[in-house]
């Protein structure tokens, strides 16, 4: 047995899982609250990365990641909010609106991704590492960068939880998700909540984009992988279930790492979808989802 190797892979899975969790939670939130499925989610991931790149590399602003995060949050919230207001909200009253939302966000994704390509060129962009060096515990080696990503991702999720549980807007978001009619009765402006949710989810995925850009780089089409993974995690955990999404993110992060380690990288995608299908066959609503 190679105990330390398994530990090594475990850490890899944990880091992956934390970032997936950060990003999948946003997708599941939007679906849970407004039943809208956002195909441009991956493009919002790239948006975060490019935003940070413009600030840090192109404009060369000093202030490091703290400054970038401080500026990115309002930018991303605003971007998501406006996007919802302008292109998603008008569709809500139409027939087949769910398909139309998928289509319009797919169109947006096409626009954004190719827009990045035109603006920033096809080549990848990189960000300075958030931290260098590593912690060595005997045979186990953990890069500080990974620790930082893990810590920031988890803080992001905790902040998100705090927001949902303890703020008026967070409670309103949960209220709309649990009972849209009840929410309407007490005077919660549903449409504004939908848009706000979209904004919050954009922040989640955009921050994920910034965190990962310094390790995995930014490229115009780089968001598709994120969209697919977030989607799988969301469905696996139960669409609209935030706790389910968190659990699923870590399970899939681990699965990815161990399948890659034991069987090889080719099998990761097969394994992901295999587990998803098996789960849905037994529990059509995902791990923690509810029908409706």
């Amino acid at each position: 047995m190679y105990i330390e190797e398994y530990l090594d892979v475990f850490i890899s899975g944990l880091t992956n899982g934390s970032v997936y969790a950060l990003m999948a939670v946003g997708l599941t939130l939007v679906y849970g609250v407004s039943r809208a499925f956002n195909f441009a989610y991956g493009s919002f991931y790239s948006l975060g990365g490019y935003f940070a790149w413009v600030l840090m590399v192109y404009l060369g602003l000093s202030g490091g990641y703290l400054m970038v995060l401080l500026m990115a949050v309002p930018f991303l919230i605003g971007f998501g909010y406006v996007t919802e207001k302008v292109i998603v909200a008008p569709l809500r009253k139409r027939s087949d609106w769910e398909v139309k939302v998928m289509m319009i966000t797919l169109g947006l994704a096409l626009f954004l991704d190719n827009g990045y390509q035109v603006l920033f060129g096809p080549r990848m962009k990189s960000l300075p590492p958030i931290m260098t060096g590593a912690v060595e515990l005997g045979p186990i080696y953990i890069a500080n960068q990974d620790i930082m990503i893990f810590v920031l991702a988890i803080s992001g999720i905790l902040a998100f939880r705090w927001l949902l549980n303890n703020t008026r807007i967070g409670m309103a978001v949960r209220a709309v998700a649990q009972n849209p009619i009840g929410a309407k009765i007490v005077g919660i402006p549903k449409n504004r909540i939908f848009a706000a949710t979209f904004g919050i989810s954009t922040v989640m995925v955009g921050l994920g984009g910034i965190l990962l850009a310094q390790k995995y780089f930014i490229s115009p089409m780089g968001g598709w992988d994120i969209l697919v993974k977030s989607w799988v995690i969301t469905a696996f955990g139960g669409m609209g279930s935030i706790r389910g999404g968190l659990l699923a993110a870590f399970i899939l992060g681990m699965l990815e790492a161990y399948v890659g380690y034991v069987f090889g990288m080719t099998w990761v995608l097969f394994a992901l979808f295999g587990v998803l299908l098996a789960t849905l066959a037994i529990r059509p609503q995902g791990l923690m989802g509810k029908w409706g």
Partner: protein
């Protein structure tokens, strides 16, 4: 206070209300009686901005509120309390109440209203942390009313408050409604039958097949043989 004039309302494609007119004066409790499925709830929903299509005129405190959104109405002090409660099941009693005070005008008075509500519903005060979904029918009903009161409303539209309740709970709910009335709120109440009608209502309407078929004071209603038999269970 509230005047409904020649209102026609539609539910999906169905024409439910036909030229309904009625009114509620300041400080009054008006009870709308009628059999199930004849449009009572639809009328309340029409008032509270919960229907997509309403023709006619609804005025509240002299303002034309036809076509207003629920959100605006809540801010103006009109609140709907649903027959099936529409609580937030996965949230605690306290969270439900706080959300009741979501409207702008209610936020400032949240603390005061919370104290009043707990005074009115001591049962809820003891269960602040319980999830709404795990409450019994009677408690849930009380929570729904309490949540409505949190909006600082002057005018309550209560949809069948006694539906599915044990007789003793029913009495308790009606007593609370009376208490709320004493505190100066006006109400439009919808019920299938109320034995204690005279005790509670100032005036009574009967809505059958989407039309108003009776109107009068509570005493007149209690004296009406047909009403007595059908709605008042006397």
């Amino acid at each position: 206070m509230l005047t409904i004039a020649d209102v026609n309302a539609y539910y999906d494609q169905f024409h439910v209300l036909h030229d309904v007119s009625c009114e509620v004066h300041e400080g009054e409790v008006v009870v709308m009686l009628g059999p199930n499925g004849h449009g009572k709830s639809t009328l309340l929903k029409a008032v509270c901005g919960l229907l997509d299509r309403v023709d006619g005129t609804i005025t509240y405190k002299g303002q034309d509120i036809t076509g207003w959104s629920t959100e605006q109405l809540v801010n103006q002090g009109v609140i709907y309390i649903a027959e099936n409660r529409e609580l937030f099941g996965d949230m605690t009693v306290m969270e439900n109440l706080k959300l009741g005070a979501y409207a702008k005008n209610a936020r400032k008075k949240e603390k005061r209203n919370l104290a009043r509500v707990f005074e009115l519903f001591p049962r809820l005060a003891a269960r602040k942390k319980q999830l709404a979904a795990t409450m019994s029918g009677g408690e849930a009903r009380m929570l729904a009313i309490a949540r409505g009161l949190m909006s600082n409303a002057d005018f309550l539209c209560i949809d069948e408050p006694s539906l599915g309740l044990q007789p003793n709970l029913r009495t308790e709910v009606f007593n609370i409604i009376k208490e709320i009335h004493r505190q100066g709120k006006s109400m439009l109440l919808v019920e299938q039958n109320i034995p204690q009608i005279a005790d509670l209502a100032d005036r009574v309407y009967v809505l059958e097949e989407g039309c108003i078929t009776f109107q009068g004071s509570a005493e007149e209603a209690a004296a009406d043989d047909r009403l007595k038999e059908i709605f008042l269970g006397m």
